[in-house]
Symmetry: C2
DNA sequence: TTTTAAAATAGGATTTTCCCTGTTTATTGA
DNA sequence: TCAATAAACAGGGAAAATCCTATTTTAAAA
């Protein structure tokens, strides 16, 4: 048995209190780890890191949070507390999300459907090796190197994006022009340009394109 | 201290192993409850209920699951094991979901962001009173009785629906008319009728309406 | 300071959309 | 069979959208 002072410290950031609470119980049941506290989101974490005297070795970070989500929080942590190792926790195995987090410098990425035993393993590895990569993450990394679908890189300029989003409303182009402080003829140009580049025939096509590429949400 | 045989029994159904596992730890730490086992989804639960000799008193059921989700599972349970009390667990406080579950007969509805202490309370109440209703659920029930937005009942006729769906393509109304074997003027009528009824200004409005009402999917 | 490229703007023609007020053609119930 | 009603269809005009081909303005680079 280890006494608390020998144990590695963990802080949990998750807006789901029930999950955070249970997770704490689970982690505290691991002989080598103990949870210092948990935070509801990135902002809450910032405050608590200031007020608490002890900094954790590991941060278990949920990426789906309101207010200040996992990405922002990870970035802030890397900048302000680079020594704290971040283990990202996520519901979905979204490839883009995984890559984004890895790029900001998290030490591991866990899916919430992993076996509790794997969490223990991940925590141990992060302490010992400095990182933990599950199979899924490794696979994603490979996929990203060898992209199956080149995914039409949409180079939308700021104005084009704005126009596209406004085109999904019931406004006329003239009204859109007014809002954007541009001549209707300029809007005319934006539209035609998009039609050509995206192989689109009319405004409905624009709307569908925006939808498919999540440029707007219903 | 209670010995196991005196404790109330719980089974967890959740596809997120980590959550299920931690939750088990948490519940087992409650003096009056113990977890018998957990299942990944409804199907898994069916199998396990058959093979295990002991039936639980309470079923903690996640509603967001692949394979056989919370709704189906709840229905099956009510039909096949009506004596087992169901506590639904959900990430989102989706009003429709709450109502749907309550109607199928679950004894309570918990959000995953509740405080662990509330879970203990909910379990106790379900055993003692037979149900547990959090504030949110009570509020939702009130809302459902007094609907703020009457939700335009959309009485779309077959042809109108078809037109609406085709209007979400890049076809002109003339082309749509051809496909539907109708005069362009008839299509004109359909459109105008929908504009008036749905308070829509132009074709983009039609597309957004179809999207919002899931008449088409992206 | 030129040169250059991109962004913004125009003119003008054609098509499509939108809107209003009708008429004709089924369909159905008395 | 005869209204009554709904569905389909039309004419015609105004507004908006689409599609060309330029020109002007702006910003960046040389």
């Amino acid at each position: 048995m280890h006494n608390d002072s020998q144990k590695h410290t963990v802080v949990i950031v998750d807006d789901h209190l029930l999950f955070a609470g249970s997770l704490e119980k689970l982690i505290n049941s691991f002989p080598n780890f103990r949870v210092l506290f948990h935070a509801k989101n990135g902002l809450d974490l910032q405050h608590k890191l200031k007020s608490e005297k002890t900094l954790p070795e590991i941060l278990l970070l949920d990426i789906n949070m309101p207010v200040m989500d996992g990405f922002e929080t990870a970035q802030w942590m890397v900048e302000n507390h680079p020594s704290i190792k971040i283990l990202a926790l996520s519901m979905e195995d979204d490839e883009r999300a995984i890559l984004k987090m890895l790029r900001t410098g998290v030490k591991g990425y866990l899916l919430k459907d992993i076996h509790p035993e794997n969490l223990k393993l991940a925590l141990r590895e992060v302490i010992e090796k400095g990182y933990y990569h599950s199979e899924k993450v490794a696979e994603t990394l490979l996929n990203s190197l060898n992209p199956t679908e080149p995914q039409v890189q949409l180079n939308l300029k700021e104005n084009e994006l704005t126009f596209l989003q406004l085109a999904c409303s019931e406004m006329t182009y003239k009204e859109i022009a007014e809002i954007m402080n541009l001549s209707p003829k300029t809007i005319d140009g934006y539209r035609q340009d998009l039609f050509n580049r995206l192989n689109i025939k009319n405004r409905v096509g624009l709307v569908m394109f925006a939808l498919k590429n999540e440029l707007i949400h219903i």
